[in-house]
Symmetry: C2
Subunit: 706 residues, 2 copies
């Protein structure tokens, strides 16, 4: 039996409710589009005031249509939409697209209307797209459905597009026409009152026509569900599908605009970056970028590594491409010796065997073919960027044909940049008809290769799991319960240490003392030198009130420090309850890093990693991920900070124990996943020692949900 979503995308009958006789109106354009796209099913216009439109017999209501209907397209004014949807439900129509605007996006009465249609769709289990959208396209020739009021019907292709903006749909269709890009499914989601990106992604995952998914998003309805579906799609063993997303509302003011536009809350952009990273979604910065990407992903194989060769017949564009490849992390490798020997035999002596390899203005098809073929045959070469700036004598079409032939034979990705002096348009057509993308600018071609390479890395990455450590969850929870029982929403330092210890974190040696004698005894047990810090529910900034003494070497110094701390605190915070004094070992120097967690209302626990120090904070050089994290994610959270090179041994400095940090990140992930009552957690700093020497938590702060 057909699912409701099948009815949506593959209807055998469509009712157009609100079909209109007035040319130019939405109700007229949509009906005309359905007819003009040669819809393979039957169309039933519904309009109580018309007998027929565009040659089709009209019905006054869906309830009057004698046959079953798969899909209702609704274009009536907002106030009557719910009533129409109710009729569709009664008629047993499994799928509907509401084009009409005047819902959530206008606030007030619109909010109420949106709630009503949600309820109605749920009541009748209708697969609903919209409201406030452009509609839906399925180019599959078995159905050939254009249920939009746009002016373009794209040619069939293997890209599907899900958009949260109707205007962007239109821009994409327009661009696609010019760039010869074909689409499979094309969905304008509108307000997402029924189906959201998640159900649609799930459908496209199993859609045979779809090989590349393009999305324009302003928010995610359920970020965690999105992550899990997207990850499945991009990580499929035999047939991963790339997802390319343009997420608007990046900046704060941008987010404000997003919220006034869709009436939905836009999450913080850093969280979206984390989500996309974790599920292998490629995020484009601009509309243009994502267009460029889909063009390549639609037909090019993925490169097996990041070594690129640049083949050109003019210097300037070659240099621009090189700059751009390197800026995007590709490796413009020196030509392998074996290839150089072969090239020397095959190419004119004037060609200098560097990368970029400049074939000189006179190069013809044989020269391009030989260079490309010899280089792509090398196992060390993973992709090629081919530039052509023809002279009057250049046989552009021939060159395009040989590039196509060699690229197909070698099964490695090739992107092109044919710069027009003399007319190159026929050459570009030959390339693109054969799935080789051509870009107007060498820099765009380089950026695209970088994305193909990035996705290839993702697809081939080692599969890792969320590590489960044996921990004392019960012990940790007991501490939290005690704190809550005392009416506090924060943990004292020793309590936070105990929670972390229960989860196996390496914590500095410590003891809590309530007297000078106990402090000395603690120091003797821990071993000198030690640190003393006040423990008090009322003192947060211990340093500021003189509540800390460092580097104490003798019993005498400890006693004196104990007294001083008590006196300082009594004097500066007279009402503070002093729980005791914590005695800690004085830890050797090392590199300080910060581990943190913040529980987001929408997305749950977000982990943070960064190096310690005010610079890192000022330069915002930190990474975020949603917990729980897999092994590989922990490692990438660290290696993706710019300051990572310091941990690796920067300028003769020591190499630090990165695996120890990874271990802490994974334990933190488990801790905050297990204990939902923790709202915020900071390990600041975690002091990291040289490779193999581990790390130690030397300060920690835990805040509970209140």
């Amino acid at each position: 039996m057909k699912s409701n979503l099948d009815a949506l995308f593959y209807p055998t009958s469509v009712a157009v409710i609100g079909a209109s006789r007035q040319p130019g109106s939405v109700g007229h354009s949509l009906l005309a589009n359905l007819i003009d796209s040669r819809f393979q099913g039957i169309i039933y216009p519904v309009n109580p005031r018309a007998k027929g439109i565009l040659g089709l017999k009209c019905y006054s209501s869906v309830l009057e249509i004698p046959d079953p209907i798969d899909l209702a397209v609704i274009i009536v004014p907002a106030p009557v939409v719910n009533q129409i949807l109710e009729e569709c439900g009664q008629k047993g129509i499994p799928a509907a697209v509401i084009i009409s605007a005047g819902f959530k996006e206008i606030g007030g009465a619109g909010l109420k209307r949106e709630k009503e249609i949600k309820q109605t769709a749920a009541k009748y289990n209708i697969a609903l797209i919209g409201p406030n959208c452009l509609g839906l396209i399925n180019t599959d020739q078995r159905v050939s459905l254009n249920a939009t009021f746009g002016t373009q019907f794209p040619r069939p292709g293997n890209i599907s597009f899900i958009s949260q903006s109707g205007a962007l749909c239109v821009a994409v269709l327009d661009y696609a026409k010019e760039a010869n890009i074909g689409f499979a499914k094309f969905i304008s989601m509108g307000n997402k009152a029924g189906l959201t990106e998640n159900e649609l992604l799930r459908y496209l995952q199993h859609d045979e026509q779809t090989e590349v998914i393009l999305m324009y998003l302003e928010d995610l309805v359920n970020g965690r569900e999105f992550m899990s579906i997207a990850r499945e799609i991009t990580s499929h063993k035999s047939h991963p599908k790339p997802i390319i997303a343009l997420k608007a509302g990046r900046t704060l003011v941008g987010a404000r605009a997003a919220s006034s536009h869709t009436g939905s809350m836009a999450g913080s952009d850093k969280v979206y970056d984390a989500i996309f990273q974790q599920c292998g979604v490629l995020r484009g910065e601009t509309l243009e970028e994502v267009f460029d990407y889909v063009k390549a992903f639609a037909h090019q194989p993925l490169p097996q590594g990041n070594n690129v060769v640049i083949i050109t017949n003019s210097g300037g564009p070659g240099i621009l491409a090189t700059d751009s490849c390197i800026a995007h992390g590709l490796n413009v490798l020196p030509l392998p010796e074996k290839a150089r020997t072969k090239l020397r035999q095959a190419l004119p002596p004037t060609v200098s065997l560097n990368n970029p390899i400049d074939l000189i203005a006179e190069a013809q098809a044989e020269t391009y073919a030989a260079a490309l073929d010899i280089l792509l045959a090398e196992s060390a070469v993973h992709s090629a960027l081919v530039i052509l700036t023809p002279t009057a004598f250049t046989r552009v079409e021939e060159i395009a044909q040989v590039i196509v032939r060699v690229a197909k034979r070698r099964r490695k990705p090739v992107v092109c940049c044919f710069l027009g002096v003399y007319d190159v348009s026929r050459g570009i057509e030959i390339l693109e008809e054969n799935g080789l993308p051509d870009y107007r600018f060498p820099e765009s071609a380089a950026r695209v290769l970088a994305q193909l390479t990035k996705f290839s890395w993702w697809v081939k990455r080692p599969s890792t799991k969320v590590k489960k450590y044996p921990v004392k969850k019960g012990a940790a929870r007991r501490i939290l319960r005690q704190v809550q029982a005392q009416g506090r929403n924060f943990l004292l330092e020793p309590e936070a240490y105990q929670v972390l210890q229960a989860y196996g974190f390496p914590v500095v040696k410590f003891k809590v003392a309530s007297s000078e004698a106990e402090a000395v005894q603690a120091a003797e047990e821990i071993g000198y030198p030690v640190v003393l810090k006040v423990v008090s529910p009322n003192i947060i900034h211990k340093f500021d009130v003189g509540g800390v003494r460092l580097d104490l070497h003798t019993a005498e110094e400890v006693k004196q420090a104990y007294q001083e701390i008590i006196e300082n605190c009594r004097r500066k915070v007279p009402r503070a309850q002093l729980t005791g004094i914590i005695v800690e070992e004085m830890v050797p120097t090392g590199q300080e890093v910060i581990l943190g967690m913040n529980r987001d209302e929408q997305f749950g626990p977000i982990l943070m990693f960064g190096l310690g120090g005010i610079y890192v904070e000022a330069l915002e050089d930190v990474t975020f991920r949603l917990a729980p994290i897999r092994e590989l994610t922990a490692s990438r959270m660290i290696s993706q900070t710019k300051a990572y090179k310091i941990l690796q041994g920067f300028r003769g400095g020591p190499q630090y124990d990165v695996p120890a940090i990874e271990d802490c990140l994974k334990r933190l992930s488990q801790l905050v996943t297990d204990l939902a009552e923790i709202k915020e957690l900071d390990i600041n700093p975690l002091r990291v020692f040289e490779k193999g020497q581990g790390c130690l938590v030397i300060d920690a702060r835990i805040i509970l949900e209140s």
Copy 2:
């Protein structure tokens, strides 16, 4: 009398030496282009084997032409070029363009040939373009000169283009045709054997047809001269001309390609960034960016500030534009209250009065006109970005017309983004015919506005001078001479301190002691606590050999430290000559910064500024400028680092004494300009105290030219 460059750009007669009868050949294409562009002077083809070409009588040599010739265009094979140029010299031809390749770019014999033509051009004082170039265009209808072998002759316009790559010329002409961009002068420089970017810039500075200068560069022949000319052009009081540069060879490998392409050394990219910053040249990242920029600079006024309003009729593109504006440093300001009141009266109630202001899909010309006019009338609004995604009912042309009208009336920059659903091409034509640039993507439009704003800031910046401090130059030079006399090429720490003191730097209190007693006496004079450091021509890493003792509070501690340092150094570096021990005051804590200078072979002294610490180094958060620097430059060197916010008081931290750092930077600039024998200088660190408290040099290193 005409200058040689006038003869080049405004010839009354042109000899085409190497004109050819073979269609498609360079010698034929070029002659045909001259004829087809309706050159206003007389053309003399030179070809000993032809009687006539394309209807023109041929001469066997320039020497045979009975009339005087202004410009020779040379297309003969490389080996005979110099002989031809010699004949041109004998004939008294003041200007020549050598199209032929086979010179510096091929190395070997080509290098020799290039040297010969340089000498010949110098001997006869010929204004020479090339060799190895596409040629030259002047669209001025008084001459209408197309001396290139390209296929496009651009329409007249106010942009001039200077290119170091022929292929890029071709790409630019091609793009210009599509984008309706007009050019004034168009010059393919080739190998720059004669005229370079500097002479050409100087010419364009005074060229009435040129209002915007676009450059593609792979290197600069004389960076300092370039800076001074470019600065004059961009800073002209009444008529500044923007210069937009695409500099290739950004990355190291890119630079390698540049050098194999042009045979010229490409300087370090950071230096180019510094040069462009200092002379107001706007650097584009990609070919596409610079195209986008010139389109706006050609006709739009400059904004008076960075407040932008975004007017749209569709949400998604508005959000994308907002994100991009903010990412580029523009201020998407909340709409001013006064404007809101007016807008509320003028616009339909459905329009929400935010920025971006969403006029909703149905908006017509009156709505656009009212919104744009009311907003541009506000003094707080400096520019506008207008987006249109039309419906079937949108009167696109009318909207384009009112945008043009309002923009002209309000004399504020407006950039547009008409997204095509329904056909918007006629609307875009109306915009561009009237000098309003339209971009395919909202993000491009935002980026362009940011560049207009940046150039406006440059034009209006306060004019500052290079400050001349009264310094003891003689004293400083004496120290350097003494060092050189001792056969050293580096200064000892006390010597470096003295040089800096001679230039008025605030240096830590110090004295050099040769005995325990002297050290104690020095400490008493300086005041406790003090620091002791070894002074030795053989010890560079003082800390590593135990040559430093910090925080000494008593005479006893000083004596002991003195002995320890001597013993440590004797033991670890037995052969080191110990000049003495430097006694310094122990300086209070503060923020550490680094000031440095490196004398570049090509560009001279390059100053560097950055905050201290390994993070800044790892993240490469430093700025460079060529000395001497003006007052404003010193301030921007500091404020353009990302870590600058730390100096301003980050997260409740103290505000530091930035003017004191600026003072040091300016003194450093004077020092390294005065004393060319200094090769490298590092003040690391300069310790900076809170606002008003100044700063102190607490370590310095000076290396001399050897």
